[in-house]
Amino acid sequence: MDLATTLGPLRLPAPVLTASGCAAAGRELAQFFDIAELGAVVTKSIMMAPRAGRATPRMAETPSGMLNSIGLQGPGVEEFLGHDLPWLAERGVRTVVSIAGGSVEEFALLTRRLRGAPGMVALEVNISCPNVADRGLVFACRAGSAAEVIAAVRREAPRDLPVLAKLSPDVTDIVEIAQAVVEAGANGLSMINTLLGMVIDVDRAAPVLAGVTGGLSGPAIRPVAVRCIWQVHAAMPHVPILGMGGVRSGRDALELVLAGASAVAVGTATFGDPSAPLRVQDELRHELAVRGFASLADAVGLAHRRGARVSGAVGAHVAVERDESGRDGAPDTRDEAR
């Protein structure tokens, strides 16, 4: 099974990554499995300065999910460069560095500071963390501010460094935001960040989280992730997508791939199972094999072509596309598997 994949210029030998904020900087999970076997480790978002994050309680379990309200706690970019990134590089781990900023300027400064950092294979630009005091600063909620950040990062980043924009599902039209960041120079899209949510303790008649609201993650949001990936892939089939949102098994990962993701990140599942990222990768290999796929690439976005086949003219067009791509043999097998 060929699991190699690409996210624009970024070539990865394997398609499963850690999701930002769910794997720290890799060290803790390395106690449980070889993190170099993953496609890449995506770090917790780094900011310029050390940041204490929000008060506790920071977490609430919800049906098939959880709310978190960490507030981007982190050591700052200097500590990250001195301590975390070299540790990953020494172990041959491909690292996608997630950056977060309170201003366009901070994103630009971070990008400049990270230039040439060892082991960094891409930047993921977190413009969508919901746990910030000022909702106006969730850049990904507006096309203009989202594009402004990505353009600033693109200007400062080396030309050959892939830049992924991490998008929020909490928008009216995610395709509009996606198009804006791609035009601004993003090589790919990470979808989705958490959804803004809230839980009230009915006995105390008060919010559970000290930060009042938090980001909802886990299998509860997987259908939202599938929908967002589907919509964006339908509108821009050539823009690579790193999919995340409630992936807990190889089957779940395959669902995101079929919607259009070229790679998949595992987040909240890691809290319940520290081996989850590599387990999901192994399970994905199996899920592809039993359905008769020869490679991961054959499955990317396939549900669009399937959906179209039964609807007349569009289906005919897609069938021609598939013939041109030379992928044959598999469809019948896949029909049987369904």
């Binding site: 769910c22 803790e28 106690q31 204490a52 506790t56 959880m66 706690q73 309170g102 910030v132 319940g272």
Partner: protein, 289 residues
Amino acid sequence: MSRAAPVQVRGEVLSLRRVGAYHAMTILAPGIAEHTRPGHFVALAVGGPDSGLLLRRAFSIYKTSDRGVYGGTVEIVFAVVGQGTAWLARRDVHDPIDVVGPLGHPFSLPKHPVNAVLVGGGYGTAPLLSLAEALRARGARVDFVLGAASEDRLFGALEAKRISASVAITTEDGSVGERGLVSDVLPGMLARSDCDVVYACGPMGMLAAVTEQANAHGALAQCAVEESMACGVGVCMTCVLPVIGEDGITRMVRSCVDGPVFRGDRVRWADVGTVPPDCLGAPAAGGQP
């Protein structure tokens, strides 16, 4: 600092019994018991592989056995407080259970024989019993102060009596021992035992009071905190509390990997649940974006 690397194992429930208001569960968990020291904890997956309960539940380790026909076992004590612990309490013998451990930073043991007072609140006594054994093996004098809301929530009193010079007991309802809190009787115990070091495990309020009384007596306090955690292994960042470092700087540190045992005088008990303004990386005046 030596730290046993945690492992994730598919364990098996060997026994489950009621102990007053609590449940004690023994789990066959090869590779964990062998490396466990008093104060370590385990994190259990609950609800089964397809459960809607996603987060691990952390429990301090009551007892371990690293030999015998079954291999290594760990025993935990828990109260049913939610869906996850209710699921645990419904397990049958031989049911599988996913265990990660040993986790955290255990109690530091003194190099010389000392006089130690061990303070347990509710099932917080569980990790102190193996600690008492380890202290006695080093020639320490061990006295216990145990407290709970009521007799059925007092854990390990008989066992504590067997392995210590004395045990003082308090309950909030007076159903056994003195009516009141451990902090009502701890100063007397510290004086009587000429205490050098206090080890404590229980609710935050109790740990704050124990630290203050230990400080007043000139004893060192080591406190195992009970913070809610999502992962137990250091990646989720939910279990943080403000702790003063060796350099005098306060940081929000993870109780799962930097704790659960902290020097009491390093924890800013009054500020737990907040981010103190002088903490490293705290929001500047006017708020943080």
